[in-house]
Amino acid sequence: MITNPERKLRVGIPRALLYYKFSDLWITFFEQLGAEVIVSPETTKKIKNVAVRLAPDEDCYSTKLYFGHAMALKDKVDYLFIPRFGGSKKKYVGCPKFIGLAEVLRSMIPDLPEILMPHYNRGMDKHTRIGLLVRAFRLGKIFRKNPFVRIRAISRAFKAQKFHNKTMIIDENILRKWENSEVILNDFPIYNENEKQLKIALVGHSYVLNDPFSSLSIRSLLQSYGVDIITSEQMPRNLIEKQMAKLEYDIYFDFEREILGTIMHFIESKTVDGIIHLLIFSCGPDSIAGDIAARLSKRDSEVPLLQLVFDELTGEAGMRTRIEAFVDMLRRSIDKKVIFLTEQVRI
């Protein structure tokens, strides 16, 4: 690689998987170190086609897409940033696939730019929080020798992530306001005349919820149906932990705790009209959480649960029919409830 002091070093970050959780942390870190960050574009059909052709067959759809995003950056950057992230909590794990991503990519595609792959897994003894800072400090050396600049970059990056989490995750007070229709947390629903307002909890991995391509634009679809949504990402953490404590077993998949906790909260609180659970085909943790969610919903089925499984073969038509039918079902049941009420008043 030719080092040209005039040109900033380019770091590529694939717009997939954990990018949707940690983008602020990563981008701030590299930019503070004077690097130019290039994020792959939003998922398109072209990226998907490359991904499906390239990725190992047994990987989940979202992991496959990661390969497509990495390929989109291949010839545009000096470094690819693909952290090996095992999880940020002592007791819980993320997804083992995320740890192996960098190595798998490197072994499959020999002519990739150099991959920066710091390893962090809080579950491992040596991986303390201080250890994470040390790793970041060492990684920063590639870009800046000055230790103060590196420390400042780390500090600003964590600050940015903290701010992201704070704006994303709401507290119980805001949740109550949303439940009472005092605030809107996401895109403003397009209400049609004479239609009842619906509230739906949209539950799934951040990389499915926020990628319109893999979720077949479900968010804008719901918006056009006049549905006000809350996502599992936004849920107050204490409520999720409260629900998790009710299970006889400890779910050790960190992301699934968020998903399952949200579903359990709304099954219990009954403050939404319905729950839509987005699952990714061949995702192991999803299949476990999906089954538990279905059982819990069957036990207390007042709030209907729709589970949708996505992969590269998912037909848009069938998916739309299900979503439309689900929204119809909720809307019609509200209409009916209102009719019952007026009948009682008459008596």
Partner: protein
């Protein structure tokens, strides 16, 4: 039969295999229905269906509202000028509720789709559709009837004649077929194989689409496959409940779409968008192209009526969208 003061509503259900039309009056009673094959040409079959309907009812009959449903509902909606375009789950549920207000479960098996709809107190509370597998739907039965050289109409009757169903692997239609061939080669009589096939498909339906669903009586069985009395008996055997097959089982989707059109007309008093009975004489052209505006390379579809562009869709970004 036709009353000039009465209001009439048209429902069109375009599925993968059949195209159904129904005209109901204001009290939701079926006046006339048409059931024809789609034959892979939804536009032609809608035109043909409309012509048949017009021949049966006469041109003077005015349509106050029109609805479309089924997998071809969007296209159909544009062709006939539907006031409401709705999914087939809602349509089937409404039609079932009209025939039996107490119905709690609807089993619907069509050409390539199968569904279960759970209803409580007249409200849909749960539903499921077959996912990536079309095992046990009408088109498979159709194919097997062809292979065995038995008219599909006789399929069910023949199954009833057997009292010794052979076991057929029903998990996947491809394996079911090889299993059937194997059983034939062993010398099993056709009627036993057919009965075995019905049972395998019934089991497959209950284990896939019906998995985890609270199936309660009254149970209604509709869609084209409900014509198969062998399938009805299979469901009765496995569910240990009586299965009701409504008289108009094959056109329930169209009836549902007509009911939706009536509801829609009541909610918003307005003139119907329904084209006219001359749809069959109009010239409809569909064409498509790939948009190269971005790397999504969307497939855009255009629909023209008598050379005028009336609808266009298919782009993710919706920049090509044109409806109305």
């Amino acid at each position: 039969m036709i009353d000039s003061k009465e209001k009439y509503f048209l429902g069109v259900d375009v599925g993968s295999i059949s195209t159904n039309l129904a005209v109901i009056d204001n009290s939701k009673e079926l006046i006339e229905s048409v059931y024809i094959r789609t034959d892979g040409k939804p536009v032609d079959s809608v035109q043909k269906g409309i012509k048949l309907m017009r021949d049966q009812l006469g041109e003077e009959l005015t349509i106050t509202g029109a609805g479309s449903t089924g997998s071809g509902r969007k296209l159909t909606g544009v062709i006939i000028g539907a006031d409401i375009v709705k999914n087939e789950i809602t349509a089937h549920a409404l039609a079932s509720l009209h025939y039996n207000p107490d119905v709690q479960t609807v089993i619907e098996i069509g050409g390539q789709d199968s569904k279960i709809i759970i209803i409580r107190n007249g409200i849909v509370v749960d539903f499921a559709m077959n996912t990536v597998c079309a095992a046990g739907t009408g088109s498979f039965l159709d194919m097997q009837a062809n292979r065995l050289e038995i008219p599909i109409e006789k399929f069910g009757e023949l199954a009833l004649q057997s009292d010794n169903a052979v076991s057929i692997a029903g998990r996947c239609t491809v394996f079911a077929e090889s299993d059937m061939i194997h059983k034939q080669q062993l010398g099993h009589p056709t009627k036993d194989i057919i009965k075995g096939l019905c049972e395998a498909l019934g089991r497959n339906y209950l284990n896939n689409v019906g998995k985890g669903k609270d199936i309660r009586s009254p149970i209604m069985f509709q869609g084209g496959v409900a014509a198969n009395i062998g399938m009805k008996e299979t469901f009765e055997k496995y569910l240990e409940q009586e299965i009701i097959v409504p008289e108009n089982y094959a056109v329930m989707g169209a009836i549902g779409a007509a009911i939706l059109a009536q509801e829609d007309a009541m909610k918003r008093p307005k003139k119907s968008n329904f084209q006219s009975w001359d749809i069959s004489e109009m010239d409809f052209q569909t064409s498509g192209f790939e948009c190269d505006g971005c790397s999504n390379i969307c497939e855009i579809v255009e629909i023209r009526r008598n050379d005028t562009l009336i609808a266009r869709w298919g782009s993710r970004c919706r920049k090509w969208d044109l409806i109305d």
